[in-house]
Symmetry: D2
Subunit: 371 residues, 4 copies
C-alpha cells in the first residue's frame, strides 16, 4: 500500500548523478537537500529519459541563448520525474507525507512580467536561481538522484492505480498538451496533423484524439506509426512511402488541416506544415531543426497562419494531461519501452540515443541506493 | 456641402480602368453596376494606390496560391477607396444616400467555417464570387472606376471634417490595426518595434503609438523615419547606420521588445524579429519576402515566440483605425504625398513604383468623368 | 440505403404546422419553398421538441425583447431538425443531393458588427429576415413541416451510422457545447457543476465529461440524475436530499468548482453558482428564471466571477458536438424517450409539456405525408 | 533632485497607523521592517485614501468571505501608495536605491492554480501570508506608515516629472484598467458607458477615452460629471435629470452600448447595464451593492451578455495605467482634491467619508516623522 507508512527514513547523504564537463556524468555522494518554504522533499521513484537529456549532457541546455547561459555543470540532469513526498517545507499544506507526485519542470521567478501573466515557462529570469527561477535538470538540480526538492506549484498528484513508470510520462504529455492548449484547445471534429512520432508527438496524438480531433500522424518508422494508431491516430502516413502534404490535402477536400503540431525537427517541416494547413490554420512548434532552414514565409502569410513556438509544459498543462491519463483516455504506457535501475543510467542513455530495441521512452527506477 | 442634394444623377454607363493581360490596363466604357440585396452603389471619390496594386497589375493577385487562382483579368483593380452612397440595394437601411464611406476590401462568403467564426479575410471560398466572396480590386471589380457596388458590411462612415484623401487611408491603417489586434492589443507601456516604414508600417506606428506603446521604427530612409517620428515613433533606427537588434536589446535592458510588427519584407526580417523580442514575445507579419529565406527556427522556439501572419483588414479593424483617425490620435495625412486625377492613374502607378519625389501614398481622384 | 436514389420527387405542395394566435397551431397546405442562392431544400426526417417550442407556441419567442418583436404568427415552429438535402440552390457545392444533415438554428445577417466577428447567434439584426437574419422556428419557418430551406452554413453532416432521432439532438448538444466553449473549453481534470438535468444540462454533462471534466450534476429527479450518470457525471446531487453548495465545497476541499453551467432556471441558481465556484470561477447561463430574482452581486465580485449568458449554438458548436456524438464519446440517445409521427405533433407537445412517462426528448418523424 | 543622495538613513523604528478594533486606529511605534529575498524596503512618500479604507477600518476587509477571514487587526491599512526604494532584499536587481515607485496591492502566493495562470488578484490562498499571499493594507501591513516592504513584482516605476500625489493614483487607474482589459481592451470607436463618477469610474473614463472609446459617464453630481468631461467623457448624464438607459439607446440608434463598466454600486445598476448594452455586450463590475438586489437575468441571457466581476488590479494593469498617465493621455490629477500630512490621517478619512469640500481623492503625505 502506498503511503501507509508515513515515517520516512531520510538519510543524511544521497547518491546523485552529477554532470561535469560535456559527456562526463558520474554518481556523487552529497547531502540530501532540505525543502525551503513552499517546497517539499521528494524521494525519487522513477525518471523517464528525454532526448533533451542527451542534448544537455553532451552539449548543454538547448534553451540557453548563446552567451546568456554557460554549459551548466556540477548539477544533476533529469526532468521527467515522479516520486513520493517525504518532507514538507514551511507553509506546505497542499501535500502530505507519502503523496505520490509527478513533477513539472519549470517554476518561474514569480516576479517578472511573464510570470505575472502566467507564462512561467518563459520566465524572463530563466536560469537565474537567485531570482527564484528553477528548471529541474536544466538549470537546477534534477531527478537523476535519490532525492530532489521542489516547489508545490510543480507537483501533480498521481492516482493510486497508475504505475510509477506511466506517471513519469505526465511531463511529456503535458508538453504536448501545452502546445495544444496554446493552439486553441477546441479540437472536436477538427483535423490535427502531428508530424514526428517521438514521445511528444505520440503523446500529442493521445491528447488530441482524446479531445475529439481527427488525427493524422506522419513519420518514417512503421512501428512508431502503429503505436500512434493505438494512441488514437485516425490516419498514419509513412513519409518514405507517401507524400504527407498530398495526403492531408486529399483528406480535407483540398482545404487543408486546421492544425499542424510539428514534433519532428525536420528541415522542411515548417514548409510542409504551411502547405498542409488551411487558410487561418495554426501551427504548433514543439521541435525545431538545429540549424537555420529555408522557409517560404509568403505562403505562411497567404494562409494567414499563426505559429506557436512553445517551451515546456506551461499553463498547468501537466495537470490536464495527467487528468486524461488518469481517466484512461489514452494509454501513455505504450510509449514506455524499457526500464533500468537508476545506477544504470548510462545504459538508459545509450538505449535512448541509439534507439536500441526500438526504445522510445526509457525509464530509470530508484529502488536501490545509488551509494 | 456633402450630401445636401440627395438626387444623385447616375449615368447608365461609366468609365473604368480594366486590367487585361499583365501590365495592360485601360479605360473601358461599361454599364454602371446595380446594387443587389444588402449592397449599395458608391460613386468613387478617391482611391489610394497600394504597392499591391502594382503587383496585381504586373503579376496577379499575391494572395492566390499557385494553381488555385489564375491571373485575374477583365476586371478593375483598386482597393483603398472612399466615395459616396448613391443608390441603396434592397433591405439596406444602415446607410443613406449621400453618406461618405471608406471601403474595406474583403467581404467573406459568410458560410464557410472561417467566416462563421469571424475570420472573413481568410474565407475558405476566397476568390469564388459564386459562393459570395468578394475582395475589391483583387478578385472582384475594384475602385479604379467611377462607380462600384459594395456590401454594407464593408463600409465605414467618414467624418464630415475628414478629407477624401485621408479617408482612403482607413484601409491601410485598418490593415496595420488588424495585425496589432491579433497580437493582443494591450500595448500601453510596452515596446513595439515596427520594421519597414512603408504605408502599413507608418500607419502601424500611428496606431500603436495612439494605443500607448513605446514604438521603435526601423528603416533605410531618413525621410521616412522622420515621418514615423511625427506619427508617434519614440525611437527610429536607420539600419544602414545602426544595428537595429542591438538598439532594441539595449533599449530594453537586454530583455528584448514585447512585439515586432514586420512590414519590410526583408530577407532577414524574421530572424531580426526573433532576435529583437523577449521570451514570450510576439511577431506580426504584414509583409514577406517573395522567395524562401533562411530562418533560425530554434531561436523562435527558445523564445517561445508566437508569429501571426495576417491577411487584410479583418475583425472590423478599419472601424477602429478610422475611429482613431477621426479622433486625430495620429495624422494619417502625413503618409499621403501626391494626388492625380483618376484618368492619370498610369502616372500615379509610376510615381508609386519609382517613388518619384519620395512618393508614399499616391491618391487618384474621380472628379471628372473618365469617359 | 441512404442517398442511393438521387432523383428526389419533390411535390409542389406540402403540409406544415402553422402557428396562428397563441396555442393555435394547425396543419396547412402550402407550396414547398424553393432554395435561394446558397441555400438547400431539406426533406425533414425528424424533429425534436424543445421546451422552447412550448414557450414559442403559447407565449411567443423568448428571445424577443419587449416591444421589439411581436408574437410571431403564420409561420412554422420547430428548430431541432434533421433531414435530407433534396435540392440545391445556386452556388451550392458543399452538399450534394441525398446528404443527411442536422440543422443549426441561427443564420446571422452576415453584415452587422456581431456577425462580422462571428457571433451570429447575437446578430444585431435578429428577427429581420429582410436583412438576412434567420432563426429556424423562431423568426422564420422551421421544421414542423415536410420541407424547409436552409443556408449551407447551418448544416452539419450526419454520419451514416447515426439514427435520425439521435441526429436531432445535435442542436441541443451544440447549445451546451457553445456555453462550454465560451467558458474556456479546457476542462480536463477541472470541476464542472451542471445544475438542472433537462436536455441541455444532460448534454452538457455528456460533452464536459467527454472533454475530461469532473462533472457534478444537480437536480430534483433521481431518474434524470441516473441518466446523467450514464452520460458521464462523476457525482450527482438530488437537491431535495442534499445541499448542493455544501457538496461541491466538500468535494473541492472548500475551494469551490472551476465552472458552473446553470441549466435549471431556478430562482436561486445564480446565487448557488456563486457560492459553488472558486475565486476566478466561471458561470455559464443556459437557462434563466422568467422573473427578476434576488442576486448577491457582492459575492460575485468577491469571487472575481465571470458570467457568460449565451444564446443558441454559436461558434459552430454543433459541429463539435456532432463530432463527439459521431465518435460515441457520449450517448445522446439516452435523452431521447419518445417518438410520434409529425402529424401527431400535438401529442408530442403534450408529452413534453406534462412530462408524460418521464418524457425527456420527444421526436416527431416525417415519414408519411401531412396532407 | 530625486535620488541624488543614495545614502538613505533608515531609522530603527518608525511610526505606523495600526488598526485595532473597528474604527480604532492609532499611531504606534514599531521596528522598521526588513526586506526579505525578492523584496525592497520603501520609504512611503504619499498614500491616497480609498473608500475601501473606510470600509476596512470600520467593518473589515470587504474581500473576505463570511467565516473565511476574521476582522483584520493589529496591522496598518493603506493601499494606494508610492515611495522610494531605500533598501534592497537579497537577489533584487530590478530596482535600485532611490527609485520612485508606485505599489500594486496584490502579490499572489505564486503556487495556487490561479497564480500559475496569472490571476494573482484571485489567489486561492488569499489572506494566507504563510503561503506567500500579500494584499497591502488588506491582509498585510499597508502604507499608512513611514516604511513598508514589498515584493518587486508589485512595483511600478514613477516618471521623474510626475508628482508623488499623481503617482498614488496608479493603483486606482490600474483597477479601472484591469476591468477594461478583461472586457476586451479593443475599444477604439466603440461605446463605453461608465456608471458612477467615483475615483475608479473617473479613472475608467480617462483610460477608456485614451484608448479611443466613445465614453458616456452617468452620475448624480454635476461637478463630478464635469471632471469626467475633462478626463475625456464624450457625454455625461445626470441620472437625476435624465434617464440614462434612454440616453444610451438613443445615442446608439437603439442598439445599445458595447460595454458598461459599473462603478456605482447602485441597486439597479446591473439591470440598467443590461438594458443599456447591445446583444453580445459586456458588463464589467468594479463596484457592487452591499445587499442582494433584484436582477432580471432573463434580459442578460436574451442579450448574450458577459459579466466580468473583477478584483483589484491584476494582469499588470497598473503598468499600463501608469504608462498612459506618464504619456499624459489623461490627467489623473483632476481626481486629487486634498492633501494632508500622514499624521492627520483621521482628517483625511473624515474628508473622504463626508466628502467635505467635494473631496474626491485625499492624499496623505509622509514628510515629517510620525513619531
Amino acid at each position: 500500500m502506498m503511503g501507509h507508512n508515513k515515517n520516512f527514513d531520510i538519510p543524511k547523504e544521497m547518491g546523485a548523478w552529477v554532470l561535469n564537463d560535456p559527456d562526463n556524468i558520474n554518481i556523487v555522494k552529497k547531502p540530501v537537500p532540505q525543502p525551503k518554504e513552499g517546497e517539499v522533499l521528494l524521494k525519487i521513484d522513477a525518471v523517464a529519459i528525454c532526448a533533451t537529456d542527451l542534448e544537455i549532457i553532451s552539449h548543454g541546455n538547448p534553451a540557453r541563448i548563446e552567451g546568456e547561459l554557460p554549459f551548466n555543470k556540477n548539477y544533476s540532469p533529469g526532468h521527467e520525474a515522479m516520486g513520493r513526498v517525504v518532507k514538507l517545507g514551511e507553509g506546505v499544506t497542499e501535500f502530505k507525507l507519502g503523496d505520490r507526485v509527478a513533477v513539472e519542470i519549470h517554476a518561474g521567478c514569480g516576479r517578472c512580467e511573464m510570470c505575472r501573466k502566467g507564462w512561467y515557462t518563459s520566465c524572463l529570469n530563466y536560469g537565474f536561481a537567485s531570482k527564484g527561477h528553477k528548471a529541474n535538470g536544466f538549470t537546477t538540480d534534477g531527478a537523476f538522484a535519490e532525492y530532489m526538492t521542489n516547489r508545490t506549484q510543480t507537483l501533480v498528484h498521481v492516482p493510486d492505480d497508475m504505475s510509477d513508470e506511466e506517471a513519469t510520462l505526465a511531463v511529456t504529455a503535458g508538453t504536448s498538451m501545452y502546445t495544444l492548449d496554446v493552439m486553441g484547445g477546441l479540437f472536436a471534429g477538427q483535423t490535427m496533423v502531428v508530424t514526428g512520432p517521438g514521445p511528444i508527438g505520440l503523446c500529442a496524438v493521445g491528447v488530441a484524439s482524446a479531445l475529439g480531433a481527427e488525427v493524422v500522424l506522419t513519420g518514417t518508422r512503421d512501428n512508431r506509426l502503429e503505436i500512434g494508431k493505438k494512441l488514437g491516430a485516425n490516419h498514419v502516413v509513412n513519409v518514405k512511402k507517401q507524400n504527407p502534404v498530398e495526403f492531408v490535402r486529399d483528406l480535407t477536400c483540398g482545404i487543408g488541416a486546421h492544425y499542424v503540431l510539428e514534433c519532428s525537427g525536420a528541415a522542411n517541416a515548417i514548409n510542409d506544415a504551411s502547405a498542409m494547413i488551411r487558410r487561418g490554420g495554426k501551427i504548433g512548434l514543439a521541435a525545431f531543426p538545429s540549424k537555420p532552414v529555408e522557409v517560404d514565409i509568403a505562403n505562411l502569410v497567404r494562409n494567414n497562419a499563426y505559429i506557436y513556438a512553445t517551451r515546456g509544459e506551461g499553463k498547468s498543462a501537466c495537470h490536464r494531461a495527467m487528468a486524461l491519463m488518469a481517466q484512461k483516455r489514452f494509454d501513455a504506457k505504450l510509449i514506455h519501452t524499457h526500464t533500468f535501475p537508476m545506477k544504470d543510467l548510462q545504459t538508459g542513455l545509450k538505449y535512448t540515443r541509439e534507439r536500441i530495441e526500438d526504445a522510445i521512452k526509457v525509464v530509470v527506477r530508484n529502488d536501490e541506493r545509488l551509494i
